[in-house]
Point group: C2
Chain length 243, copies 2
DNA sequence: CATGGGGCAATTGTATGCAACCCACAGCGA
DNA sequence: TCGCTGTGGGTTGCATACAATTGCCCCATG
């Protein structure tokens, strides 16, 4: 078999998933900025694949709302504005609130333990001695924090038992500014955020849907503040030159 | 130019949009039933196109949640169950409620007039002398009613000024059972439904977001009853044979 | 008879060539 | 000068050939 060359080199050709994941990451993390053009030929050349899988990856990214496809004129990373950002959080508040409410009476004890464990790991991360590096977007500490945060929320989405919740939120929560907002929180903001997580775990343990929903709504609004602040910084503007 | 051969024959080859629209209609209206297999080759042969556009259409349908793609094993029309149907309405109530609330303070007078006009046309349709044909799913009267109903709702989605509302609802509202539920309403049910539309128009005219949201929620729950009844009839079951 | 491996048919995944399309811009005529 | 037209560069859209993957059937073997 060829699935496990175990290590280096591996000149295996890229599948559409590889390309999709890579482009998605680059867009969400901000390496590819809004307005950046993504011609099929250009992307294919850059990654060393043919147009076909690139094309499919771009179409999927369009379905995710991350790129705009202009027939015969090339794709580009979709820009978005303040109004849209607010609109996104309006919907997240409602959908994640609903997810938390449902999860409160559906999560299994093991799943709640898992949530608690994630929460504790985040606390530990925030308690490690502060170096300036902690504030840099690309640093490992931030990356882990973001990663754990996503795992926490995704577990709740799954725990809601409504498959459409996951689909909707994958379109609303994994976007450039929303992602970057995590490190727009100041130190205090991150502690508040973790307190919300703690409260959520508590509401699940006591199977209290009202508390779960209210807490989640507060939590999302809290995240909104960070995203709006981040937006105000102007870090969202068009990419290099464009045209 | 060749864009307007004006009439018949027109052996222009099918684009992926043609194929997408056609498959989508067939699935939503129930001609292609859940579980039905949709091999790329098979679809291409049936419609007289090559695999490439068919493939892209199928991928888009998967993003819409209408088909399931199984790598190397072919696509099929996605089946869904009672739990999912309930979950869909849970989300619709919240999202359409939000849309109506926002629309109440954003719709322009012309847009409200348009809504009123649609509502009146629906009343007229329901008032035409009853023949049995009116109850048949495929009849022109039912088709018009469904069409007008979709226009009415879509106008509100757009009027909400939140582009994500449209995207979310296109995944939640244009599904087989949801669509078919329209004619699962009895005669009285249709009148109640139109009364809700009338109330919505009123709430928009008076710019009353609370009334708009409450009315929309009631309206969607009303639709849910019809969908659940339709589901209970068992009209959702697997297609011919499958396997 | 149960079980595991080889190979085969069905099907999608990828590469590539050519056709169709969109737009910008130059050139022409009023 | 202004508007119209057509032509060419750039880019996607479609068709087709070939490669890769999956699942299954069948047979050898314990």
């Amino acid at each position: 078999m060829r699935t496990a060359p175990a290590s280096l080199a591996e000149a295996r050709r890229l599948t559409k998933e590889d390309i999709y994941e890579r482009l998605r990451r680059e867009i969400v993390e901000g390496e590819l900025r809004p307005g950046q053009r993504l011609g099929e030929e250009w992307v294919a050349g850059r990654l060393g694949a043919s147009r076909t899988p690139v094309r499919e990856a771009l179409h999927k990214l369009e379905a995710d709302g991350l790129v705009v496809l202009r027939p015969h004129r090339g794709a580009l990373v979709r820009p978005f504005d303040l109004d849209e950002l607010i609109g996104i959080f309006d919907l997240r508040v409602r959908i994640e609130g609903y997810a938390a409410r449902r999860a409160a009476t559906r999560l299994l004890p093991e799943q709640i333990d898992e949530l608690a464990s994630i929460q504790q790991r985040q606390v530990k991360l925030l308690n490690t001695p502060v170096t300036d590096k902690h504030e840099e977007p690309g640093s490992d500490a931030i990356r882990s924090l973001v990663e754990l945060n996503q795992r926490f929320h995704r577990l709740i989405h799954i725990g809601s038992g409504n498959r459409h919740v996951e689909v909707m939120l994958s379109r609303l929560a994994y976007l450039p500014l929303v992602y970057q907002a995590i490190y727009a929180h100041g130190r205090q903001g991150r502690w508040v955020s973790l307190y919300h997580h703690e409260q959520l775990v508590h509401s699940f343990r006591t199977e209290d849907p009202e508390l779960a929903e209210a807490t989640m709504r507060t939590h999302i609004y809290h995240g909104r503040q960070a995203a709006l602040a981040r937006f105000a910084e102007g870090d969202h503007q068009e990419g290099p030159g464009s045209d």
